[in-house]
């Protein structure tokens, strides 16, 4: 198994700013991107809801990020990009507080009953992708014709108005990921879109002993 390469970069979309941190594994036939999330749950949240959020997040990330891009090296070899989430309290790349019910999510605060697409959107930020919807606070996204705005059914755009079912990652997002992986791994890569295949259906995540211990530990911290 190849050594992981860490990507650790400060991203600015003033007045927004955050650190994008994740790991990539360059394999012969594919490239893995792994994001380790510490999901700290509010003490009012039942275990089944924590598990629901984990499964929904994994499914949503699988739907939007996988079978989407290939990374092509200078010799023309194409490797599919695979993004996965690992929920762990051990050296996480991203710490998220989970709250009950519904609310406005952001990179560090998620809600149990939020639409799962919002968690794929937040994972996009964790992988360094910027927002693409209008925000009068943002210098680059203040108006509908500002340079940082896209109206093309982007996962990072205003999918609530444009249509959740049509949201997807775009070529420009693959290029951002390719540039970051190239820079960190020292291998020139370019992104190209991969033909879409119907994603796998929902799957179950077992509540392991390690997970149950972590769940108790998280509660003790709040």
């Amino acid at each position: 198994m190849p050594e992981p390469v860490e990507i650790n970069k400060s991203i600015q979309d003033l007045p927004f700013g955050w650190t994008s941190r994740y790991h990539t594994f360059i394999e012969n036939d594919h490239i893995d991107v792994r994001l380790r999330i510490h999901l700290r749950s509010d003490q009012r949240i039942p275990l089944r809801d924590v598990l629901k959020v984990r499964v929904e997040t994994e499914d949503s990330v699988n739907r939007y990020f996988n079978q989407r891009f290939e990374m092509v090296d200078s010799e023309g070899r194409a490797r599919p990009l695979r993004v996965s989430i690992e929920f762990t309290s051990d050296s996480p790349d991203l710490v998220v507080r989970l709250h009950p019910g519904k609310g406005r999510s952001n990179l560090n605060h998620w809600f149990v009953d939020a639409d799962p697409i919002i968690r794929a959107h937040e994972v996009g930020h964790a992988l360094s992708l910027p927002d693409e919807y209008i925000d009068p606070m943002s210098k680059n996204r203040a108006t509908a014709d500002a340079p940082g705005i896209y109206h093309d059914h982007s996962l990072m755009g205003n999918f609530f108005s444009e249509g959740i079912d049509q949201a997807e990652l775009k070529q420009r997002h693959g290029e951002i990921l390719a540039n970051e992986i190239s820079e960190a791994a020292g291998i020139p890569l370019k992104a190209q879109e991969q033909p879409r295949i119907t994603p796998d259906g929902p799957h179950e995540v077992a509540a392991t002993h390690e997970f149950l211990l972590q769940y108790k530990e998280n509660r003790a911290h709040i």
Binding site: G17, W18, R104, S105, N106, L107, H109, Y133, D135, S161
Partner: protein, 138 residues
């Protein structure tokens, strides 16, 4: 404490408290306005979607709003200056009493770091749910 900012809340017909959170171009913007006479309005805007609601709060409910705001007075809270994280909403609270106006903009992180602000947010969310008949949740 600045006595200029310590007048009683919602005690006259020309007084009001206004709470606004969010972005109409993403998860939506919610505005709650409570008047001193007990009239409460709620507006939710997301893209082309706009919903408005109006209701007269019962006297005991208005008193509950007053006492909650007095106990967790927004004017005593501090707004952080840290960078916003992606999708982080701003929370604006405006208090009007006659010709006096107090307004402050908080960041969403402030409510997770200051339990008194979270109490205020929970109050306004409960009024939003009540006035909209459950159609505006947050």
């Amino acid at each position: 404490m600045n006595t200029q900012d310590s007048w009683e809340l919602l005690v006259s017909s020309n007084s009001s408290v206004r709470y606004q959170i969010g972005n109409p171009h993403f998860e939506g913007r919610t505005t709650v306005v409570i008047q001193g006479n007990g009239t409460a309005s709620v507006e939710f805007v997301r893209g082309a979607e706009k919903r408005s609601y109006l209701k007269q709060l019962a006297p005991e409910r208005l008193e509950e709003v007053r006492s909650t705001l007095a106990a967790y007075d927004p004017r005593k809270l501090t707004a952080s200056q840290k960078d916003l994280v992606p999708d982080e909403a701003q929370i604006q609270i405006e208090i009007v009493e006659g010709d006096r106006t107090w307004v402050r903009t908080f960041r969403d992180q402030d409510r997770w770091n200051q339990s008194n602000l979270q109490k205020d947010v929970e109050l306004f969310e409960s009024v939003a749910r009540e006035v909209s008949g459950g159609n505006v949740q947050f």
